[in-house]
Amino acid sequence: MKKFLKNFLIFCIPFALLLVALELYVLYYPSTFNKKAHYLHDNKENIELVVLGSSHNQNAINPQWIHLNTANLANASQDIQLDAALFFKYVPQLKKLKLVIFELDYFTLEEKNDTTNFRLPWYKRFFNIEPYPISILHRISLYSSQPSFFNKLLIDAVNPKKTKYQLNKFGFITNDFPGVMEDLKYDSTALAVTATERLNNKHIDTSVYNLNFNKTKLNAMLSYCVANNIKILILSSPMYSTYIKNEVKLKKEWNKIYIDSLIKANPAFNYYNYESDSRFTVRDFKNDDHLNSNGAKKYTLIIDSLVKTIVKN
């Protein structure tokens, strides 16, 4: 038995080392999460603007083009519960904070993760927040949260033919990856024809429970801002026409009712809806609901001029 265990352990050593190496890679490779976390942690004393939201704001607002010291904490599939966890963990620590940008796109209020979202352990690891329960294994090993994702990342990293992510110091991805717009050569007809198949089931779920849950969380964040004299900017990001056509009317109505009531009750809130803004053309989009780097620059500059006005007042 001793010989068996000894040989087995010796056999396992390279795999143990490989797993450790993978874990270290996952922890230290320049991801949007660790870049954003590092920037935030290193600049707590100077952050003046915080951006929250999902991949829409993540891809749309490049802090590089904003005159205030900005931390864009928006991430893919980040719902309001995660927004709130980040907000209440960090906003009280940011002494120079002047403004918070909230994302309120058409789907935002009814979106809620479940515990299977593979990015949840990343929030724990990089921001030390845990609004959703995380398994012991995922606490120990970030790699285990989504091995397929990290395997692909690793393989792409060593594949010279693959485009590598380029991140600026704010954790914003500055280079464009091929998206459906580029794939279909920005042909609006082709995009319209293929939209139904592409956008099938995209952001169509309706849930009164999620709506109420998210409203409560969002209201709590807004109230905190009001109480602490932090300005609020609520934005609906630009979307391509195919995405807008796919929207569920009921959801849109609920969203509008909530925003109207919010603004009516608090006229000082700044709400701007860029969803159908005609300044954004097909060439500003990566896909139906995400801006590319050109679109992001255009959008961020518009937002920056707004920020200037809001902060001045």
Partner: protein
Amino acid sequence: MLFNSLSFAIFLPIVFLLYWFATGKNLKAQNILLMVASYFFYACWDYRFMFLLMFSTLLDYFTGLQMEAAADKKRKKFWFWLSVIINLGFLGVFKYYNFFIESFADGLSMLGIQAHFPTINVILPVGISFYTFHGLSYVIDIYNDKIKAEKNFVDYALFVSFFPLLVAGPIERATHLLPQIKKQRSFDYSKGIDGLRQILWGLFKKIVIADSCAQFANIIFNDSANQSGAMLVLGALFFTFQIYCDFSGYSDIALGTARLFGVELLRNFAFPYFSRDIAEFWRRWHISLSSWFRDYLYIPLGGSKGGTWMKVRNTFIIFLVSGFWHGANWTFIAWGLLNAIYIMPSILLSTNRNNLDIVAQGKILPTAKELIQMFLTFSATVLAWIFFRAESLTHAFQYVGDLFKGLFDKAAYSTAWQYFRSDIGWVLPVLLLFFMITEWMGRENKYAIEKWGFRFSRPVRWAFYYSIVLIIFYFAGLGNEQEFIYFQF
């Protein structure tokens, strides 16, 4: 808890270490530990069905004792039938009730009578077909005075619930497994290594080959109406490899795991795709089930002793029952029927025991005749698997009917080939080739890599194992994990 899951990778070493170190090698303690671990393993699927397993175990244990204590044949018969009826009753309710009710209603509707019968909405308890057959073989053997009833409840409960075989076999016999459970077991280094090697090969088959093939097979079968004949052939081939690697992979893991605890389980597969005729295929595919039906159904029905008609009738019966055992769907019955038809010529011509040896034994390559025989048998099997995999008989017939669609369309073959090597490039075709060569080279052993590299030095052997582990890791990371097909049975 799947064999190819992280939780099993944690569970197995814990049980292994406790088994050999914490029990002081006391047989009673080892058996209790294995029984508790097995129930825990089963409860991980759904704890509620643990009570069904307990009940089934208690029933067979109790009726076994009663049969042995029965003063007369009549009483013995009573206890025997009580056990058989309740066991099959559970199986009937959980697995077949809805099928019978719906088929009956469909039959009435064909006669113009509209009838609505209540159906039940239950999940099929995992492994119920397997542990029910364990229990049945036990009570039948006691009834036939082949074995004595087991007095020790823990030993009997372990025989039924031993976790490596609990959910998908091999279907063990009391005559084979119970003596091992009752015998003092000591750790054997070479058997331990052999167990790990078989687990490794099972994981390779399941995670690398079966789960990858499943991705393609599912896409093609789910959209078969819009596929060319070439693609449909490809889909059927993918499923052929999927089901073999899925089930034999599971069996390898089960056998290897059991060996780590000093237990030898029945062999379930013996390279069936290298069979030269259908009879040989059935001696090599799901051996524990085939032999179960042979011993407990075919032979009691008269076997091959009663003339040609009796042989034909009994062959059809066991193939139809075998098909039905797999699931409550006409597709499985059609699959069984098709196999019965396949085997009929060899039954009628008494050539069904022609190929009892291993193909091309002692040689590297088969003869041209053997190659043709293997190709024809394999092709017939591929065709039968279409019925097994299809959602319904209509789907199966549509699939088979479309197989020859665009038979001479070069573009269709080109698309199929592109598809075959897409996604992960050449990796899958190369791995399939490697797999088939390895299986062929190892066909004289219990499993393909049983004696691989024995003549090489340790670094070479380990390099081979490391490569296999790395490939498994890579494919496991792709997130294509599929449940074992036979868990649904």
